[in-house]
Symmetry: C2
Subunit: 408 residues, 2 copies
């Protein structure tokens, strides 16, 4: 199935090299395609690592291994397989992961537990060990490549390559952060994974990197949804090579820690938005803002209820300022709300206030806003000071075509 | 917008009259259409009533009134308005409900709190009081009608009339139960309500009727989903006229109470299935069975996670035995599960067992099953004895056409 490039696509930015991180790609041919589908990033000794993994109770063996490894805090390599998620494959899947770790560890002269592995693609087929072995051999022997080639090699049916960068000053030393990501949600049948990787040259303690990554996750990767379906393989990893020469960041009070945290949060925000922009069938990027909730957590759940409502998403696809569906989605969220204090805005224009329609609101700017590619829907619950913001996309015939018309 | 009759439609059954319940319909013309859209059912003095209402925090004034009235246990009339849900309309909406109650109470010589009102249709427009007044006048003066006319008059963009019946013996006395319902979920833009009504001639205490209706609700109306979006107006009411001559049912130990409870549960099950059969864009009726969960409640949440997964629903629309998506939906449910004990069946054929694909399962009967109109998906979690069963439909281009292509 050929997928058209998303109308919401963004050009791939110029990403700088990161000292201490050497990416290579190779052809493992996990599917019948002629493209690089195995990525190997080698890291300098002492590289800090932090990670976030899917909460799925049916996680892939890669995720299980990553959860066990991440506490060690150090990484020497990342391997990403595209075309086969290796999820739900029993002992055979676990063996494939262990084989890759052992082979890379031998090739680079490191420990197996310093090799992180991710896979994305079809569920239920064990990753073929022979193809993995040949692919890793080819990658170990390959010339280094740039981040664009990495972004392309980790993709499955992504319609454009997704990357972002940021920087921060730690005292007088500038540190660089780059990120590549693939998505989004369920771009194509059985291709069901968001994998994101952040690489920085900053010197930073693994525990602090983990803390800052977890903090950055909430408003970024934790605040996007394409179709409410959560992959068995979702993974975000952050690597700090420590080659920038900054005074190492040890905790929140280290000079420059705040600037680094902001840059990391900005990078994760950019990456998360790119995933939504490649949501299957998406024609509109939607930002949902909820305010006046009982708490921030409550606001987040209400925002997710709106963002996951098929009726809200189809209304926006149809350029329809259907605030009744937003009311419905607030009401079903199971969170404290008072119908008679609820207000709703489309594109900044209030269309409902205190539990009823705003009479004679100016429809022209609302209609104009809904014709655009970036839609903002705001709901103020009027009962507290909790706030949240989530990103999603619309629900179109494209989604059905990708997921129903095609047979796996 | 003209909607084609659902391919899953069922013919309307012959429903018997119920002594003590007199239905009438009239034209209030809430929309620009030439059809009956106001229903008035008059009940004999002493009729018991029980009810279930949406849990939405943004419920309509009809639902708020109903919640307040239901504790009284007695009803003399039901009024159903179709074409305008009167939800999210502030004080004006409340006044419209109170006007209808007062007018009907005067017409029938009863108390206003014995008059139950439901409305379904567009959100955010106060029910026009002049049209309601003229419609109620016309209904009070109309000839009695049959239940098919009621099923038609309460519908909005339902594509077929939905009704069912059951009976039970209480000692030697046969009691009859009939039900009519409209739905389903969100059949058309802004038409967002499931309204169901059960009428029986059984003599039964209101408290017991409420208890039995609540018990019947879990596996019927509480176990269906079309698109996970919950209306602001969902209502199920049960009326017992007491005209059958049976010894009144007072509690669970009353002779015949079990038979009546079974008949009521059967009736609710039939009505709930009919709502799914009229799900927007539906081409397949899907039964999801979950077993081996930690508890029945946990099994229900897992089953709902599968039933609400857009990827599972689109796979079935595409006749694709994509069990990887079922694994995904189990994993994201947030309930206890063990990937390596999970088994999945389509149409009774095991396709995955103990955390991996069944090699060489017989694909022919699975493919044949998926071509049919009634699909059964089973997931056994293998960790306990909790069970649940829910009904849903597939997700097709029809759903998008109904909800996105059409502008409100």
């Amino acid at each position: 199935m050929d997928l058209d490039r998303s109308p919401l696509a963004r050009p791939f930015p110029d990403l700088p090299p990161i000292d201490g991180a050497t990416p290579r790609v190779a052809r493992a041919r996990y599917k019948e395609w002629d493209r690089c589908d195995l990525t190997l990033v080698e890291f300098a000794e002492g590289t800090a690592v932090a990670g976030l993994f899917t909460k799925s109770a049916c996680a892939s063996p890669e995720v299980e291994a990553g959860r066990a490894q991440i506490g060690g805090g150090r990484a020497r390599a990342l391997v990403v397989n595209a075309g086969n998620s290796n999820a739900f494959t029993g002992a055979a899947g676990r063996e494939a992961v262990e084989q890759i770790q052992a082979q890379v560890a031998e090739g680079l002269g490191c420990e197996a537990h310093e090799v992180f592995v991710s896979s994305t693609g079809v569920i239920g087929v064990p990753l073929p060990k022979d193809k993995a072995r040949a692919g890793v051999d080819a990658a170990l022997a390959a010339e280094p490549c740039d981040w664009l080639e990495v972004a392309r090699a980790i993709g499955t049916t992504d319609t454009f390559e997704k990357g972002a960068h940021a920087s921060a000053f730690i005292d007088d030393t500038e540190v660089r952060l780059i990120g590549v990501i693939k998505g989004s949600g369920m771009i194509a049948p059985d291709m069901a994974t968001m994998l994101g990787y952040v690489v920085t040259d900053a010197a930073i303690e693994p525990a602090l990197l983990q803390e800052l990554l977890s903090e950055a996750n909430g408003p970024s990767f934790g605040s996007i949804t394409v179709d409410s379906d959560t992959s068995t393989s979702d993974t975000v990893l952050a690597f700090g090579t420590g080659t920038a020469g900054n005074a190492p960041l040890v905790d929140h009070d280290s000079p420059g820690a705040d600037a680094f945290a902001s840059a990391l949060a900005d990078l994760c925000d950019q990456l998360a938005k790119l995933v939504v922009r490649d949501g299957e069938g998406a024609t509109k990027f939607i930002e949902i803002r909820v305010s006046g909730a009982q708490s921030d957590d409550s606001a987040h759940r209400v925002a997710m209820s709106i963002a996951n409502s098929p009726l809200v998403k189809t209304a926006i696809a149809g350029q329809d300022a259907n605030w009744g569906r937003v009311v419905m989605a607030v009401g079903k969220a199971g969170e404290p709300a008072d119908r008679d204090r609820l207000s709703i805005r489309f594109g900044g224009v209030e269309v409902a206030r205190e539990g009823r329609a705003v009479e004679d609101f100016d429809e022209a700017p609302v209609a104009q806003h809904l014709k655009g590619e970036e839609i903002v829907v705001e709901a103020d619950l009027g009962i507290g000071s909790g706030r949240a913001r989530v990103y999603t996309c619309d629900l179109t015939h494209g989604y059905i075509s990708i997921n129903a018309d095609y047979r796996s």
